[in-house]
Every structure is written in C-alpha cells, then in structure tokens.
Amino acid sequence: MKTIMRRKVQLCCAVIMLLMIAGCGAGANYSNQTAKSLAISKGAYEFNMETANSLRNQGLISDSQKAKIVKYANIYMKAHNEAVDALADYVEVKDLPETTPEELAAKKQAVEDLYISLAVKSADLVGYIRQLRRND
C-alpha cells in the first residue's frame, strides 16, 4: 500500500515536472525551446554525477558500478555536447541571407536527430543512478 502511494506521488510529480518543462517552451521559437531543454539536460548531468560521487564517498558504489557510471556518463556527455554544437551551428546560420532553405532544413534535422539520441543515451545514466540510490 505504501509503495502504491509512493508511486502515485511520483507520477503526480512527474506530471507537474512535465508541465513545468512544457511551460518553459511555450511561445518560444524552436531554437529557444531546444536551448532550454539542453540547459535542463546539463543540470540533470551535474546532479546525477554529484549524486554518484556522494554514493561513492559513502561506500555505496563498487568499482564495477563506478566504471559503469563513468561509461554511461561519458556517452551522455558526448551526446549532450554534440546536440549543443548542432543547435549552435543552426542558430549561427538561420538568419544569414546566404543560407538556403535546404541547408537550414538539414541543420535542423541534425539537431533533432542528436537531440533524440541524447534523450535515449541520458536515460541509461539517469536510470542506473536512480537504481543505485534506491538500493542504498
């Protein structure tokens, strides 16, 4: 019963959080919405790594678990930075008169592909650290 209640509270919080994130992007253009999401992604990375370090200092993470975290975090960091670069490239050329619609569409597609890749890759780190925290 307690577990079900806890789950319900977590799901309610999830809905609130999603609304907060959606609110960040309301009325903004495409690049601004994506930049805001990337700012949140960076905050999530920092928080998860600080949490991992804290668990490590408490002796709650083994060497193999630490190695797995480092592996997932490196993948997350690389995916995040690639998405940031792609968005910055898009913003740089989007208002230039010499940029053709095809070039702009290609750059936007690159941002979207890397953003989806980031979402998938970040889930591995975030999910794994959450699992470790549940076990402590």
């Binding site: 959080m17 960040c24 690049s31 928080f47 790594m49 991992a52 200092n57 975290i69 670069d85 913003v91």
Partner: protein, 56 residues
C-alpha cells in the same frame, strides 16, 4: 528500455525536488531568456568529465 525511460522520468522529478532552489532557478532563468545566441548555447556544453566528479 521502457523501465529505463520511466526511471529517467522519475529521476527528473526527483532532480527538481532534491536539488531544490538551484535547479528550479536554472529552469526559471532559461524560461526568462528571450533569444539564445550561438555563444550562449555553446556555453551549455558539459566540460566536467565523469572522472573529475570522482576525483573529489
């Protein structure tokens, strides 16, 4: 992958609840921003490697 995604979502919620004011402030700062320049976007890159977190 399904479980992992649910975990990630719940972790995001916990992130806001546990990290508290600092994280919420980051979101609010981003929300208030009108137009992001390419340089400001590049400043969102992650520079601190996972190994550096464990070096502390």
């Amino acid at each position: 992958m399904y479980i992992s995604t649910i975990d990630a979502l719940l972790a995001l919620v916990e992130l806001a609840l546990l990290r508290g004011p600092r994280f919420v402030q980051q979101i609010m700062d981003a929300k208030d921003k009108k137009e992001w320049t390419a340089d400001e976007i590049r400043a969102l890159k992650i520079y601190k490697t996972p190994e550096e977190y464990f070096d502390k």
